[in-house]
Amino acid sequence: MTTAAPNYELLQQEGLETSLLEISMGPHHPSTHGVFRMDVKLDGETVVELRPVFGYLHRNHEKLAENMTYLSSMPFTDRLDYFNSMTNNWAYALAAEKLIEVEVPERAEYLRVIMAELTRLVNHVTLVGFFVNDLGALGTPLMYAFREREKILDLFEQASGARMMCNYFRFGGLRNDVPEGWLDRTRELVDRFPAFLDEYEQLLCENEIILSRTQGVGNLSRELAVNAGITGPMLRASGVNYDLRKVDAYGIYDRFKFRVPYTDGDTGDCYDRFMIRMLEMRESVAILKQALADIPEGDIIGKVSKVFKPKPAEAYGRIEGPKGELGFYLIADGTTKPYRYRVRPPSLINLTVLRDMCLGGKIADACIILGSIDIVLGEVDR
């Protein structure tokens, strides 16, 4: 919906005094998903200028990590994107494993995939809930989403000891094996999950209000998406078939049969971003089923000392996080601490195109576009 802005100069020549309404949305606003701020200029209800403001949650995570050993910054990666601590751990472990060259045991690789896909379910299911909340539903889908999330978080807690700040991955494997019966409980959850997804889709996917609110809103072209470094479901919604689980096949993802949903790139609007996530959950369930069927017995962690000194080198490890490509760039200088530690935050980089998508839309559109980008401020501001 693009509305032509009136000619202000002409209006002022006619002696009418007009001005735009400037609103500072955030840092405390119900739908900015944290302490994010958008300086918005409105012409009536139409957004004519939007400027994102970051940094309210900045804690210089990178500097912290450069002042402690490799292992000690593992718990801090949990706090980047606090919804997906497991995948954050994995990305960091992947980068560090490139520096120290350690073999990850088979069982640990399977458990890593299981944890990462469960995390993807957690993220997508709550994101859809929050997104529909931004659309104005009274939190009903969100509560259903949280119910499923709670079940998965219970599994995380049983395995790692904590619900959100799991801190479960280690260089060369995982911290501990899962307790007895955990795999059966996970199988049970995975078997039940499609039924929940059916109900969720029935509630949301054909709702006329959701369709008309989201279709044609926040269009993102394929060219801009690639050039602006958009990754994850948002990129695939713009019509690019690029999933690091397929491209890099890190871990053991090449052993599983799964499909990557993407669009033909004609629209790339909020509805596509919403639907791609719904469809990805089904694929995650498929991966989980295969991984849970094939998981072998065995060791859980390779032979790595807790404090190690890698040779001077550079490593960039990246994974397909639920929000996009999460990368860790490490420079070792031969000491126990990384010389440079850098996080490539998907949430921040996906915000590059926020302004482009919001201009010309209504203020209500700006909220749902932000919701469909899927940001977590812990990761945006680091």
Binding site: M68, T69, L71, S72, S73, M74, P75, F76, T140, M143, Y144, F146, R147, E150, K151, D154, E157, Q158, A159, S160, G161, A162, M165, N167, R175, N176, P179, E180, E199, Q202, L203, L204, C205, E206, N207, E208, I209, I210, L211, K306, V307
Partner: protein, 233 residues
């Protein structure tokens, strides 16, 4: 061709199903682990009612008795806590703690530990609750299995400065308690410790035997040399 507003009716059917279903099936509710330390009839009414004693935890009512972690505790073996403390104040955990919440002062003189070996012990061992982030790094780096995670979470206190700094004597918990709250983890840990000890002893034994053998060989060689010397003479 779908009817007008069909999607809305579908959604309303889902909410109606949940509305009715919530009266009949408990599965629809958000389920969380039960953290109840007491039966529901005895819910805490005031601050003093909160269980502080270790024995009051009903470990069988929590589903998270394997790896749940909230705050570190210091382990001691059976016996007087300070006589059997495992910590030797090596300060590795202090160095590795990511938020730097551990404070250790090493004792000046050695004292016998559970194995009867004279060792240093922590004269001071403080952990700050307000800073600790329950990450369990200290547990992993400890070479003596002296620090593990406790799942007790009622650590709130009205005293912001003194109360939040947990002292050594409050941190000390017996290995039996550890077995009670984290049976699986404790069993593997004990197993590994025993294996390590056995390996160490075997190594010691082997070294002793080797030394003995070497000494014998040396003696034999010396004898042989003597003999050959005698021969030459």
């Amino acid at each position: 061709m779908s009817i007008l507003g069909g999607g809305i009716f579908k959604g309303m059917a889902v909410t109606l199903r949940n509305f009715v279903g919530s009266y009949f099936s408990k599965e629809r509710f958000i389920t969380t682990n039960e953290y109840s330390w007491r039966p529901e009839s005895e819910l805490p009414q005031s601050i003093g009612d909160y269980p502080k004693e270790e024995g009051e935890q009903l470990s069988d009512t929590t589903t998270v008795n394997h790896y749940s972690r909230n705050f570190p505790m210091l382990l001691h073996d059976t016996g007087e806590p300070m006589d059997t403390i495992r910590c030797v104040a090596c300060q590795i955990c202090e160095r590795e703690c990511p938020p730097q919440c551990i404070y250790i002062e090493k004792s000046t003189e050695k004292k016998e530990n559970a194995d009867g070996k004279p060792q240093f012990y922590p004269a001071k061992f403080d952990i700050d609750v307000s800073v600790c982030m329950s990450c369990q790094i200290c547990v992993e780096v400890c070479p003596f299995d002296a620090i593990v995670m406790n799942s007790q979470f009622e650590l709130s206190t009205p005293d912001r400065f003194g109360g939040l700094l947990v002292r050594r004597d409050d941190l000390l918990k017996s290995n039996d308690y550890y077995h009670k709250i984290h049976p699986q983890e404790a069993a593997t840990r004990d197993e590994r410790m025993a294996a390590d000890k056995a390996a160490k002893e075997a190594k010691k034994k082997a070294a002793a035997e080797k030394a003995k053998a070497a000494a014998e060989a040396k003696a034999a060689a010396a004898e042989a040399a003597n003999e050959s010397k005698e021969d030459t003479e």
